[in-house]
């Protein structure tokens, strides 16, 4: 049942899907060349996936806001909870898709685009979970129109802020890897676990907000 709702979001975003596919191939290479591969592919990947998700998620949200199709679907046996869960699965699906595209691109042009290691992939997922984990409940609470300026501003500043932070970390010899007194394997998994935790918490909050909305 939820799969059909995820499919619905993909259909709503379909006019940008091809463009985003091209973007997901080209943007990481461009960013890595511009930043001199300081981050081992992290910067190129995370900025790209953030933009891809922002574009596609916003396209879906705009359609939902304009046509109120969720109201019709909520009147069917689809539950409101399923509608919310589908949004989070949609984000995860696009993230995984972007990672696959990145990996294939990296395999083809390794000289310009390093493969992501498990740790940078985890941190990327953590950052995406953090961003959408805040934006989605806000959007359910206040509506697309009110929240879109916040989300636009947050996305707009990332290409300026992220490289600066990474350069600073690099110049101070601080690694992206966390320095915790725990085994490396667990350290690598920690961002994934945090991302999952944020995702589930955010989803629970969104379901609670949406279940109390008049449609």
């Amino acid at each position: 049942m939820i799969f059909n709702l995820v499919k619905k979001d993909l259909i709503l975003a379909k006019r940008y899907l091809i463009f985003m596919l091209v973007f997901a191939i080209g943007a990481p290479i461009y960013i890595e060349i511009q930043t001199g591969s300081l981050s081992g592919g992290f910067l190129g990947f995370v900025i790209t996936v953030l933009f891809v998700l922002y574009m596609l998620f916003n396209t879906v949200s705009m359609s939902e806001d304009k046509y109120q199709g969720s109201a019709l679907l909520s009147a069917t046996p689809y539950t409101r909870s399923a509608l919310v869960k589908a949004k989070y699965i949609f984000i995860l699906l696009i993230f995984v898709g972007s990672y696959i595209i990145y990996s294939i691109t990296s395999a083809l042009v390794l000289a310009h685009l390093p493969m992501l290691n498990i740790s940078t992939l985890g941190i990327s997922l953590f950052l995406i979970a953090l961003y959408f984990g805040i934006i989605i409940p806000l959007q359910y609470q206040f509506g697309y129109e009110k929240v879109r300026y916040i989300s636009f501003f947050a996305i707009f500043i990332t290409p300026f802020v992220f490289p600066g932070i990474l350069k600073w970390l690099h110049s101070n010899n601080i690694s992206l890897q966390m320095m915790l007194p725990i085994p490396q394997g667990i350290q690598d998994l920690l961002p994934f676990l945090l991302a999952v935790l944020i995702g589930f918490l955010s989803m629970a909050v969104s379901i609670r907000i949406y279940s109390k909305k008049d449609l």
Binding site: N4, I11, A75, T76, P77
Partner: protein, 288 residues
Amino acid sequence: MKTVLEVKGLKKDFSNFSLQDVSFSLQEGCITGFIGVNGAGKTTTIKSILGLVLKDAGNIKLFDQKIDQNERELKNHIGIVLDDGYFYEDMTMKEMKNVFAPAYSNWDEAVYKSYTERFRLQLNQKISTLSRGMRMKYAIALALSHHADLLIMDEPTSGLDPLVRSELMDILLEFMQEEGKTVFFSTHITSDLDKVADVLILIDKGRIVLNEEKDTLLDTHGLIKGDKIALDDHTRKLFIRLQETRYGFEGVTNQKSAVRQQMKGVLIERPTIEDIMLAYVGGDEDDL
């Protein structure tokens, strides 16, 4: 007759409007017209039944089960046509159906296909390019393709030309041929109900004003016309609504026999549903 839907003590407060203690029931095999002027509370009531608007108080039962406690199972029995469709207009009809249909455990693709062929719907056409009439037909095709027992329609005829409205009425009558079917149909265009409705529920300012079989309602009410001379303080009280001109009057009464006895020389006509609706919601006396 079996009760299909029961609404009891429904309340919903908005800042500028409220539903107040709305109670009624729908009987199996009946087309119930839900009438009232714009803003009377029809859509809010329907949205409350469908769980789109969260009620502040009251119970809504479908087939004797609370709808909010058995939502998924019970909604399989309801076909819905909402005002304006609420479709994703950038989708084609085929795409929208592919999202809509899997919600229902008893979706029947053959029935859907027969409706789309009958309505000559081009399934690859974008919903945004459909005329209002075609959009309504598409909504009907979606609503009737999972063997719904209760069809709920919110203002389906609003903005449609008379031919399409008449076609819709025929579809409703056809739907009712099958045993165990029920229709709940909100409209402010009361002429649509003359042909098809069995029961009428009138809502005004968030309250149920009338709930009666259509024929009983039309038989017990009269549209009275006559010279002004027939009116005095006593006979004026026999009218629910009275409109007076310099020479004559026209009014609606629910005391036909009293009018016959006490007002000689007046004309007693059968009212339309609209006459009755306006009598109950239009205020007391209006001078023309």
